[in-house]
């Protein structure tokens, strides 16, 4: 299974109830789509959205865009059929909303396994991610992230419910989310899975969106949930390594290799001291650049 070795800068939510949204969303070239069966879908249209999901998965070629589904919550009476439809249709991964404990992930993994067996899919072939939307979920983030090591691809912060349950107010600076973002990110990194930030709802405020993207990129997030196609290009632009970052990473890898050959442990690259600890970050930069199609070199 390809859990973390692909680029996932953008994950755009699509209301599966609406045929016009799901028929060709791949043209916007997101890294992933999240076909939503949960909050975006009206209560009386859950059945319709689920059948639309299945037929879309079976018949629309998303041209390499990874396909996720946000199923309804574990305590709903909808999730079993959501999972059956998604797995039967060949979904890449299932995103569980409102996750608060590792036991919830394990319970959903069992449902997925049952569906994989029922529809002749390889057991373990369906990935999972958890949306964390409450203080309890944040407190349990590491346990959630490690609840199913073979399926869990990532964890994501969902700020709407989180700020509500924290009695907090959304601010431009994101102060109310700083601890949650940090704790979620540390849990993901400790578990060896990916971390995704919450949506930015002010879709007409591109400067504000860019500022938030830069913040989460600098913190270490792998990508961001999007709600509008116009957010995809900006997200990729910010998450892609710059020409300078790529050049610097190349210099480091070349210099470290040369110094290793010469028996030197610490050296100076582009005016800064570097050592072996810089290698991993430089490799990650070049891998990301290569996956984004902006690095053609052979160092990674």
């Amino acid at each position: 299974m390809t859990v973390i070795n692909r680029i996932r800068r953008s994950m755009i939510f699509l209301n599966t109830q609406r045929a016009a949204l799901v028929k060709d969303a791949f043209v916007y070239k997101p890294d992933c789509v999240i076909l939503d069966l949960e909050d975006a879908v009206a209560a009386g249209e859950k059945d319709s959205a689920r059948i639309q999901l299945y037929q879309t998965l079976k018949n629309v070629d998303y041209q390499g865009v990874e396909r996720w589904v946000r199923v309804n919550a574990l305590d709903s009476d909808l999730i079993n059929e959501d999972i059956r439809a998604a797995v039967a249709g060949g979904i890449d991964g299932i995103r569980l909303p409102k996750t608060e404990t590792a036991a919830e992930i394990q319970a959903v993994a069992k449902k997925i396994e049952a569906a994989e067996k029922e529809f002749g899919k390889k057991v373990g072939s369906t990935m999972m991610m958890a949306a964390i939307e409450s203080p309890l979920g944040i407190m349990n983030a590491y346990e959630i992230a490690t609840a199913d090591k073979s399926r869990m691809m990532g964890i994501a912060l969902s700020a709407g419910d989180f700020t509500r349950t924290m009695h907090a107010k959304r601010t431009v600076a994101g102060t109310e989310l700083f601890v949650a973002r940090s704790q979620l990110l540390m849990a993901a990194r400790a578990a060896g899975i990916m971390a995704f930030d919450t949506v930015y709802t002010d879709t007409d405020n591109e400067p504000g969106f860019k500022k938030e993207l830069q913040l989460i990129k600098d913190m270490g997030f792998d990508g961001k949930s999007c709600i509008n196609p116009k957010q995809i290009g900006v997200t990729h632009e910010v998450f892609n390594p710059t020409v300078q970052e790529i050049a610097h990473a190349e210099h480091i890898l070349e210099a470290v290799q040369n110094s290793k050959d010469n028996g030197v442990g610490v050296l100076t690259v582009d005016g800064k001291m570097v050592d072996i600890a810089w290698v991993e970050g430089s490799q990650r930069t070049l891998k990301l650049a290569k996956a984004a199609g902006i690095y053609k070199g052979a160092l990674v």
């Binding site: 045929a19 028929k23 059945d47």
Partner: protein, 97 residues
């Protein structure tokens, strides 16, 4: 399979289709109102007949108002209307839809 109540699925939005299924006593009847009838009318009706056959839907009128939907959406709306008409929300035979 015979249905006892009528049901509707879908919308009249662009790229969607609205499908109504009603019981009747004289076999399967399909009607189509489509903005692309001249180009795709026969194809859509054949698709609806095949979908009805898969669902074992008999003795019903299927009214389709198409607004330029993909085949998979037309199929999905027929299936949704059918399962609403027989009041089945879970345990669907996904492997044959």
């Amino acid at each position: 399979m015979k249905i006892k109540t009528q049901a509707v699925a879908g919308t009249l939005e662009s790229s969607d289709a609205q499908v109504m299924i009603l019981p009747n006593s004289s076999g399967l009847k399909i009607t189509l109102d489509s903005s692309v009838y001249d180009q795709y009318g026969k194809h859509i009706i054949a698709l609806a007949e095949q979908t009805a056959k898969t669902l074992q839907l008999e003795d019903a009128t299927v009214k389709i108002v198409d607004k330029g939907a993909l085949d998979c959406t037309i199929k999905a709306r027929i299936e949704t209307a059918f399962y609403r008409a027989i009041d089945q929300q879970s345990g669907l035979p996904w492997e044959v839809l």
